[in-house]
Subunit: 392 residues, 2 copies
Amino acid sequence: MSDHVTDDNIDQTIDFDELQSQSDETTFNEKSNESNHTEDEDIEEQQHFFDIINTFRYYKSFNMKKVQKRIDFVNTMTTAHQNLLENYSKHLTEVQTSILHNYEIIKVIIGDAAKIFRNHLFLKDNKKSSLTLKSEKDLDISRIDSILNQIVREWCHEGINERESCFVPILNTIEKYFPLVENRNQIRILVPGAGLGRLPFEIAKRGYSCQGNEFSLMMLFVANFILNKIDSIDVFTFYPWVSHFSNNLQSNHQILPIKFPDVNPATISKDVDFSMVAGSFIEIFNQQKNQFDCVVTCFFLDTAQNIVAYIETIWNILKTGGIWINFGPLLYHYADMTDCSIEPSYEIVREIIESFNFQFLEEKTNQICYYTRNPNSMVSYQYHSIFFVCRK
Amino acid sequence: MSDHVTDDNIDQTIDFDELQSQSDETTFNEKSNESNHTEDEDIEEQQHFFDIINTFRYYKSFNMKKVQKRIDFVNTMTTAHQNLLENYSKHLTEVQTSILHNYEIIKVIIGDAAKIFRNHLFLKDNKKSSLTLKSEKDLDISRIDSILNQIVREWCHEGINERESCFVPILNTIEKYFPLVENRNQIRILVPGAGLGRLPFEIAKRGYSCQGNEFSLMMLFVANFILNKIDSIDVFTFYPWVSHFSNNLQSNHQILPIKFPDVNPATISKDVDFSMVAGSFIEIFNQQKNQFDCVVTCFFLDTAQNIVAYIETIWNILKTGGIWINFGPLLYHYADMTDCSIEPSYEIVREIIESFNFQFLEEKTNQICYYTRNPNSMVSYQYHSIFFVCRK
């Protein structure tokens, strides 16, 4: 599965030896590292880190090839067809320019990721040699497009409708059940599936102490970059829809420039404990008890392979009387994968929640919302979400 | 790639030698066969026919295994979790029953497909021996789920909203531009991408002569079954959403029984020429000129690899003054495939249409509609379609 890469593929070398420690930043921890990892597990984790960095690095060559394939196909056509496609051909070169621009931002993100996730770097040389450099075809580079779309959802003005449909009901509910103003930072809130950190940021901005938890290293790299390296508004411009070849009304919708972030991420009060923890929700939290006043799950429950274990862990980590707020559909992530998974209906999920003695305080179905929607596209995935509030 | 299959996998043998010719039915032709095929092309076509039949035959074992995997996963859990999942386990056995029921209908469909597509059967024995029986993992069996969902869209009461949002504007437009009542059957209308035949059926039912064209043999098998073998309403019950494990509010939404057909398919007047032709739109029609009074494309343009060739072919086959009616988004089918494809925006498609000297008579964007939507699901793909009418 390993492969050689040329200079053309990999534009930037991250020098693992010259990294400096960071300070005055949102903490990014890996709690699962605190347990006793075996050497094999360490190597597996290093390999995953290495794969993600390489996935980002292949973005340029992968996407440039996709466009080149289209240019080559046009060149096989009759002259009459090529003439009719003159504007399309011009558009394809603009798509290439946008890809190159996105890649400049990606290089900054992965450069910083290698610095902050320093625990990954303390590899003895003999361990380093067991890591393999996977080829482009062995990495799912299309996932980076989802990350670019996720930046719009969480950190761009253009994502405001998505955030209002699910973050605002959650934030209002937190302030309803934890209305106190003084010592608000004593209220501890957990957000598993924190993505790029906007929801925990909004909670912390309102004065609550908040920990985000995220499994995806890709998400964590970008979250770290936004939360720790940016201290003003609209400093970056990127092209989040550049890989959306289909369903464009206008050609320029594919290469629409979008700015981020829409707020200054460096505005959390020093009194508030705001952190992100990397790793699996179950692995990190299943042995903890009575730790949080509130758990917020937003588009998260359906990332479970065994949703019963998620509900059990939420029950355990909440203090008695603690509040669980949920918003999202049940688009089970593992349903079509080779890994094992169960996908109970909401009817059954609800029964299981009640079996743990959670008390339903509020409950609404059919909450219309979108997830990383391209507002100009001729297709959008509309979710009819469930919102509920439970007390332990 | 070939594999042995056990009796457990394949429930029914189609006896190719005992087939009878059919009469008084909607004609299903393969026009591309009229050209001079090479022996290699014949074998390739036979292999494709054989693969599709086998894809249908593997439906049961493929889907039963998917459920069994979930049952096995539950069995690995703690007793406490298993007890909480008692209703889920019961539900999984009901899912299995629904799969078995769907398979009974599939057996009837493929039994009849082998009869009607008789041209596939005249293989010399030495050619037959070169056909390989592909294994389950080499066939895309999940496509059958799309076909079951397509039956709801086209031939069930539950699909009425989808049909009203796109078929009704098309049918009204046909009657607006071809309002005559006498000799209506002299008006020749072509529907490429005819799917399960409901749209050409509705056109023929209004008295116009109509030819459907469809590339997918899977679609054609089911279209043949419905149009030629059913002569009353609601005769079959099936479970179209049985493979939808995610996004169910209630467990019984996954195993909802639906009846088909909602109309009697055997009600086309004998005076009307109503037929379906199998094969690629370009291959069949690109050499024909001035054949049709009207071409209707509904969720079809984006099935093109080269949409310019589609537009050119539509221009050629229309009579001077003929009408082209289009409804659909631009969800280009080949965009993410290894085959070559171009995906111009509607802006560029429109320019190309005008370059062929088509005259736009009507044009609307943002026509909200759905395609094989499960009305109970917590997710739906919403299309913002384009509707236009052009004159040659």
